[in-house]
Symmetry: C2
Subunit: 462 residues, 2 copies
């Protein structure tokens, strides 16, 4: 337990308001990576982060180009070559948000209300990545800097499945070399139950397109004689699940590693009741595979969801057409050892087998991400657990995350180092939904935990 980490923690507490003000600035830039219209906003966000890192004392800061949106790199190597180096990964891009979606306040005009900051990206992931930036800031303002070296890699394409990050890492293995990677892009059920995520689900995201007539047809002229593409689409989509809610795609479960009793017991520590699910989501009742608990379903089991549907007339009132085409966005959350590309092939083959000759059907791959599973007995994982005890004030559980950070598997495999996922959000933060927010108390406790984690890492034998 070093004095430098105590001083940094005090500094972080005393400067909480300034830190929130800086986060507010970062949240104002609508860095939506899924929509090309926001390309300039993405670049402005990268520039803002690079400028901020430079200002607080990071070195070698650069907005590094990729085939897509840039990576922001920065480092502080002042602890010296005999000390561990920590690589901090975060992402500064966000998913779309608009007031019309049902937000109470404009999603890119942050508002603090009841101790929470409301904005798109507040918890996913701008607020969480900023925790590590402020940990470094606090060390540098109060002494000689952290007891370990730090490198930041902040990307702008996580929400589109990081298509260019893997090539970026491969091209910059020396620059990025480190002993451990820390990522804060996940969450805990309540503030007193912090969690270290040791598993993430992968992803196969596709679009299913059905086409029939050349143009929309008048349903009075051709209704009854041509296969309505919207009907053909729903007939296909309705066959993707079995009556027991399992997924009907042949071979889908082939590579799923069965849960052991010990793993199920660990998952049971963060059990979610029917009531908790209903309160958190507003859904009238739970749904899913009866053989698995709710927590297992959302973290350790693969899923297949319809993310979007579009066909024909969707404006007000009536338009009596047979739509020329219909489209569904469909994505699977995958678990070890499922291969995203193999899953795509299985879906494509199954949909083709369901497609009638009365329409044209194709399945287009949008993106993929590998699932990841990290051993929680590694010393760096245990150091993180101690950091929560000291910095957060509660003992963490090791959990499986239901979401996907495709890059975790890549970092783990490419860079041969442990990835510690210390998520500082809450499950109820509304990420990817309306009124996304981040608790300011958790922001503060996150910064202190991140400070202590660096201290704990410095004390591990090399």
């Amino acid at each position: 337990m070093s004095r430098s980490s105590d001083a940094a923690r005090h500094y972080a507490r005393d400067n909480a308001n300034r830190f929130v003000g800086e986060l507010d600035e970062l949240l104002r830039i609508p860095s939506v990576s899924t929509d090309p219209a926001h390309a300039d906003d993405i670049r402005r966000t990268a520039d803002w982060l690079a400028g901020h890192l430079r200002e607080l004392g990071a070195e070698n800061v650069a907005v590094m180009p990729t085939a897509g949106y840039p990576v922001v790199y920065g480092e502080w190597m002042g602890a010296g070559p005999d000390k561990r180096t920590v690589l901090v990964y975060g992402h500064y891009d966000v998913v779309p948000a608009a007031l019309e979606d049902g937000w109470d306040t404009p999603p890119f005009e942050p508002v603090v209300k009841d101790g929470k900051i409301y904005a798109r990206g507040a918890t996913d992931d701008k607020g969480q990545l900023f925790i590590h930036v402020k940990a470094l800031d606090s060390f540098l303002k109060t002494g000689d800097g952290p007891p370990v070296n730090l490198k930041f890699i902040l990307e702008g394409e996580e929400e589109v499945a990081s298509p260019n990050l893997r090539p970026f890492i491969e091209a910059n293995l020396d620059l990025l070399r480190a002993d451990v990677c820390v990522i804060s892009d996940s969450s805990m059920p309540t503030i007193e139950r912090p969690a270290i995520t040791h598993s993430l689900r992968g992803m196969t995201y596709v679009e299913v397109h059905v086409e029939g007539p050349h143009d929309d047809l008048h349903s009075g002229f051709y209704g009854g004689a041509v296969h309505n593409p919207a009907l053909a689409l729903v007939e296909i989509l309705a066959k993707l699940h079995n009556p027991d809610h399992s997924i009907a795609v042949p071979g889908f479960y082939d590579d799923v590693v069965p849960l052991t009793d010990a793993e199920r017991a660990e998952i049971a520590k963060t059990a979610m009741s029917d009531g908790e699910l209903k309160t958190a989501t507003g859904a009238p009742a739970p749904w899913g595979e009866a053989d698995f608990t709710l927590r297992e379903r959302v973290s350790a089991r693969p899923t297949l969801e319809i993310n979007g549907l579009l066909s024909g007339w969707t404006g007000p009132g009536a338009k009596t057409i047979i739509p020329a085409r219909a489209m569904a966005k469909v994505s699977c959350r995958l678990v070890g050892d499922q291969d995203p590309h193999r899953i795509y092939e299985q879906i494509e083959r199954y949909v083709a087998s369901l497609a009638p000759p009365t329409v044209r059907v194709r399945v287009e791959l949008i993106n993929t991400g590998e699932p990841a599973l990290i051993d929680f007995n590694l010393p760096e994982m245990q150091a993180a657990a101690r950091a929560y005890e000291r910095g957060w004030g509660a003992t963490p559980v090791f959990t499986r995350g239901g979401g996907s950070i495709p890059i975790v598997a890549d970092i783990y495999n490419l860079m041969q180092m442990p990835v510690v996922m210390m998520g500082y959000g809450l499950d109820t933060d509304g990420l990817h939904g309306t009124n996304e927010h981040f608790s300011l108390e958790m922001f503060q406790r996150g910064i202190e935990t991140a400070i202590v984690f660096l201290d704990e890492l410095a004390q591990l034998p090399r």
Copy 2:
């Protein structure tokens, strides 16, 4: 055969270019009745028509208010009280259209190409209603006027199922009193095979709404544990048809009057081959009830179509949400003696029986229209057949229209007079689709046929 009708026909031929220019003006106003944003355009169109009728010599012209969009009324009673009176019905509203839907030219900037005028409303129904306006114009410019009296009732809500026309007629029975009603809002298979429509399908149009969570959820957090509303919707929609393509809603066929052999023989005169269907629509293969011919399916059989689907993320790329809600527009074409409200109740009951407890489902009625069937042995129907022989130059067949003009049943029932549907469009005109157009030759031959029809009616014994 009167000299006055010959002179009117010559005048119409000599002034074809002026008539097309006037139609062009009418087509430029985007009188989209399904979208409240176009309310002003609807009123501008009504004013334009009223002004035009006044200018050419119609009397008592008025833009008459309703609870919705106005009715344009105008008359010419110069033939005298001992002559028949013809009520011309038409509609000046159109369905939506946008260049982005795949039009070659902007839908409200008419273009003449290869003898056709391209614009939304060209054939449905601005071009066709204008035929009767120009028939009156031609008589008035060349003599004392038509040999019968004329009344025009031009409405602006046909494409939203005429919610206010029935009350308007009930409130104005004296004003509208006539001996026969003529409507040109239908079409023929080829220019040499004119058709008089003696039957129209009715309509029940609903929206099916499925709601689950309060907000869109992150599929990584809740995927697998809540019922995805888009999935629940497609599961319901996929059960609306039986595997043999008949409609699965219990009781749906109860009131369908079975086709007689004689009726099937009449329908067979306008048989549609698989090849013709494929060429006209671009659909890869026919679809529907195997026990009925293609022409029977599209005109004499009831149908159920999905007109639109909307849920979740439909923009570019990936957004990994469980949508909070999903919606489908669903409409049925009905035949005698199906009751649109009874059909709505049957759909509502059936969907409720399919709805699982894991989501909230409701079926909302958007609009209805009664089916209609007119006896083609009536003298006015036979006069129309002779008008085609003289004015168009071909013998018409009596056909069943697959579309819906809800007001036909109302006029037939409320005003106790025959309704003669003389459609001057082609089945391939693209109405309700992209690149809607109207043949200028058919516009011209339509005006001449309309002129001769007035002549034929004048010669019928009273």
